[in-house]
Subunit: 331 residues, 2 copies
DNA sequence: TTGAAAGCGCTAACAA
DNA sequence: TTGTTAGCGCTTTCAA
């Protein structure tokens, strides 16, 4: 027996008041006379009434939902972003509408446009270049980008990628490495920034950076790329990987090729995903504070929703985490 | 200049037809005469009209959204569940409303009740015992549980936990281990099933299982528990951990205690999270097909939404993955 | 094939 | 403090 849920009218009738009174009561909008309040309380409890959020949203125009689009929830970096964003959302009584675009560029725009209609605001992680992202402005919803948005008047949260790569390069130089390779992911917008950072550092001492591409930001791609990088004509002493997943895969494959990390090659990642610590050897990386990024992005969005709009880029500072996958050059 | 988005009435006016006609056109409900169709198409394109999903939902009662509550998105097992569920949802044009309850039991019920009002159906992962979950039936929405629900008439998806643990115990017995410990997580409902499975196997050869508790399903908890298990009075030859995260943490701490895995102690996990493969040593575990669980749960829910309701438990078969963290007993 | 009209459940002026 | 009333943007009979 499926009971239809009671409406505000049922409550009004049961309590002997008007629907407006019930509405105000539900929203805690004002004070009520004792008898009315008592009757309302009783009627609501009796019927098990809960106001319909859809109907309310249609009028108020607010859904208390935040849309979050990410490229791949399997990537621990994004997992942590979600975790952080969710924590702040929950605290402010918002819910997350999650869209995992699965690294599928074509799908991204329609998915985001559809999402925008059902939420109060969006946090977007996308690989789309700024020049092709103009349409985001037409969504007409508060937005926060998870990256630096140079050309767009949209607040954003990110990390100093140039500095992160610079720090890794510096660390490797300090260890005595001279031939350093970069195993990147060209599709990512931030890949260029990282290359630039590493180059900048090597330039200072007159060294060149060998750039390779893994074609995907995954451990599997790192495994695949390893032999290409390590068994090619110019074998590097150290490899800076685009992210920890690629580095993890790279190290695993190196082991099966009989190449020892860090004795034969030093390896670094970026992201500080939770499992780099448990890898063999533990991964040297740069902490980019993924969870805090999610938190700040959500906080910015909620602030914007509350009228404290503020367009600007917030940049977290990278922090080098030295573990066992990097060691002094041997020669 | 913020342009208000056009309504169905604007389109009707621009096209010189009624709102009913526009509505039907938007829903592809029927055929139209050529001139009407042309005018509609033009007006819609001109105004950039997109129908308001909220208003539609209020009438139809459907939101094309599925609620998914999980205990902790940071746990790769749940990450994969989300991934799988999302894939199927996307395919059927549904969106995921994600709630991460953060292992917070008290919050669970109100969060789920609120969520239920905004979605067409829910997939729920919870630690609440069946006896305390009666209220879920009153949500009046199609539901799928991510676990076995003995007492509840709710479809569910899970894994054969008894068998999973049995397999691990058997594997360790085959390797010659006699003193086997279990490092569990008592809060989890399935913990008992796993204990039972391992006990059953050991019973067959007249051995006992030493049961410990890690108090959390995390790598950190595993690290913490390691010395307690390994430096206590009865040091085990092998440890079956509740999940891979605990096992990963356990192995890391073992290394810093100077205990070698697998020479001094064999360690296993459960879940087959993506990073067990990159750990040192690579982790022996049981694959529970997290992603497929998410997919199936979503598929069941979508079927139920389409009227093909079917209450029943679907159980995936565990699969033993032997890697390097287990080895023959040395004595 | 098209349109008129009656709501969906609720909020928000405004009046009383 | 409480009630009346007019919608929010859309779908859905039902009639034309």
């Amino acid at each position: 027996m499926k009971k239809i849920s009671p409406t505000i009218r049922d409550v009004a009738a049961a309590a002997g008041v008007s629907v407006a009174t019930v509405s105000k009561y539900m929203n805690g909008a004002q004070r009520f006379s004792a008898p009315v309040e008592a009757k309302l309380k009783a009627a609501i409890a009796e019927l098990g009434y809960r106001s319909n959020p859809l109907a309310r949203s249609m009028i108020t125009g607010r859904t208390r939902t935040i849309g979050l689009t990410i490229l791949d929830i399997s990537n621990p970096h994004f997992t942590n972003v979600v975790k952080g964003a969710n924590r702040i959302a929950l605290r402010h009584d918002y819910t997350l509408l999650l869209v995992d675009t699965d690294e599928n560029q074509a799908r991204e725009r329609p998915l985001i446009e559809a999402l925008a209609q059902r939420v109060d605001g969006l946090i977007v992680s996308s690989r789309m270049p700024d020049e092709e992202s103009q349409w985001m402005l037409d969504l007409d919803k508060p937005l926060v980008l998870l990256r630096r948005s140079e050309g767009l008047p949209i607040p954003s949260v990110g990390i100093d990628n140039r500095l992160a790569a610079y720090m890794l390069a510096r660390h490797l130089l300090n260890l005595g490495h001279r031939h350093i390779a970069y195993l990147g992911f060209g599709q990512a917008r931030i890949n260029d920034e990282r290359i630039r950072g590493a180059r900048e550092c090597l330039d200072e001492v007159g060294l060149a950076l060998d750039v390779h591409d893994a074609h995907a930001p995954t451990a599997h791609a790192g495994e695949h790329a390893c032999s290409r990088v390590m068994l090619g004509p110019r074998r590097p002493q150290a490899v800076i990987c685009y992210n920890d997943l690629i580095a993890l895969g790279f190290m695993k494959e190196a082991a099966s090729l009989g190449i020892r990390v860090p004795q034969d090659v030093s390896v670094t990642g970026v992201d500080n995903v939770p499992y780099g610590e448990y890898a063999a050897p533990a991964l040297t990386t740069v902490d980019i504070q993924s969870e805090k990024m999610g938190e700040l992005a959500m906080q910015k969005l909620i602030d914007a929703l509350a009228g404290h709009a503020e367009i600007g880029h917030s940049m977290f500072e990278p922090r080098l985490i030295v573990r066992d996958s990097t060691a002094a050059a041997s020669h």
